[in-house]
């Protein structure tokens, strides 16, 4: 969207330049481009957002929050009926079903002071995308998903992995700085500064499963990152929603036709 905004700004600049040059044969017009859904879901009338194998941060229950958000978005922006059911604890299920050849990663040692939270999944062993890969065998378990499908009358099943993890990095940041010339006149100039930034990454893999057969139809991966200045104290949950804002339109476009708004220039 940022790119589109930048493009629009360029568009306006070019229009202004041409208008100044006395050329009046340009007409800017708003358009809405329909983007076809990537997946043909005509065979389904219902969708079950089952749950996700999630990890990366204990500050946000990424499984629960992702299920909630996707269900509410699907309810308002797709033609599918959304099934209300408790989000599945897929992390635990994946651990139980882990094949002997692919052992689940060893849990990282937790500080003694950390209180045990009853009912909250232990996501501490998942630190990066690679850790999540060890649980992916669950999505290939056709019998398991077929059973779930039968239980909910053969819906389209949405599941996958979610990694919401803290991120810290040094990078160049452009900021504005006040400067005064010899006559005391103030002006603002952009300055590039190398600084430490911290924030979160959100790496998601959405897997779409046919509830009738238990087979995977398709999967899509998205990765977003938000970094903030060190002195900016952004709560994890608000960063999570900020990141999901970028992912949700892409997710919805897999299942339903979306309209992208923009402007174009008609010529005479």
């Amino acid at each position: 969207m940022t790119a589109l905004t930048a493009g629009r700004a360029l568009n306006f600049a070019a229009l202004a330049a041409l208008a100044v040059a006395g050329c009046s044969s340009l007409v800017e017009i708003p358009i809405e481009t329909p983007i076809q859904a990537k997946l043909d879901i005509s065979a389904f009338s219902r969708v079950l957002v089952a749950g996700f194998v999630a990890g990366g941060s204990d500050a946000v229950d990424a499984n629960l929050e992702t299920v909630r958000l996707l269900r509410s978005q699907l309810r308002s922006k797709s033609s599918l009926r959304v099934i209300d059911a408790d989000p599945m604890p897929l992390l635990e299920l994946a651990k139980e079903e882990a094949p002997a050849s692919v052992p689940a990663p060893e849990p990282a040692p937790t500080p003694a002071s950390a209180p045990e939270q009853a009912g909250t999944p232990d996501t501490s062993e998942i630190k990066n995308e690679k850790d999540l890969e060890s649980y992916e065998h669950l999505f290939a378990n056709v019998d398991f998903w077929k059973r779930i499908g039968e239980e909910f009358q053969n819906p389209l099943i949405v599941t996958g992995t979610v990694l919401f993890a803290p991120q810290q990095r040094s990078q160049f940041v452009q900021r504005e700085q006040e400067v005064y010339d010899a006559f005391g006149r103030r002006s603002v100039v952009p300055v590039r500064t190398f600084m430490e930034r911290k924030g979160f990454i959100l790496a998601q893999k959405f897997i779409f499963i046919d509830g009738r057969s238990g087979a995977t139809i398709t999967s899509e991966q998205f990765r977003e990152e938000r970094l903030y200045n060190q002195n900016q104290n952004t709560p994890a949950l608000s960063s999570y929603f900020e990141l999901m804002d970028a992912v949700v339109p892409k997710f919805l476009n897999i299942l339903s036709t979306q309209k992208v708004r923009g402007t174009r220039v008609l010529l005479e």
Binding site: I29, I31, E32, L39, I217, K250, T257, R264, V265, E268
Partner: protein, 118 residues
């Protein structure tokens, strides 16, 4: 004398061709202008028809192809839009507006993929 006749003939032919071309462009421009009017009222199907006509009347009229591409884009016919943009760019490679429209279109088009069926 023969030279004089040849020169007169050439001049006449040039004038005739130029007038005919001007006529063609003027007809196409009428269609383009009508298309712009209706598009501004939201009648995109009619606009698409008009710009298609303009492109048929004058296949060297870049603006007609540019507008046609925009109408296709609005109708979600992205393959046709790409074809029309490419034709417009080919006809007027130096036109910044056509390039700008095409770049914005490509940005959206790159996000689309083939539909997958279960």
């Amino acid at each position: 004398m023969i030279r004089m006749r040849l020169l007169l003939g050439f001049t006449f032919l040039t004038c005739f061709v130029t007038a005919a071309y001007a006529d063609v462009r003027s007809d196409a421009r009428e269609q383009v202008q009508f298309g712009i009017n209706v598009a501004q009222r939201g009648l995109w199907k009619e606009a698409l028809y008009r710009w298609k006509r303009a492109a048929e009347i004058d296949p060297s009229y870049a603006a007609a192809f540019n507008n046609l591409a925009i109408a296709y884009e609005h109708e979600g016919q992205l393959d046709e839009a790409r074809e029309s943009y490419e034709k417009a760019v080919q006809l007027e490679p130096g036109n910044a507006m056509i390039r700008q429209n095409y770049e914005l279109f490509k940005e959206i088009n790159d996000r689309t993929d083939r539909r997958k069926s279960p």
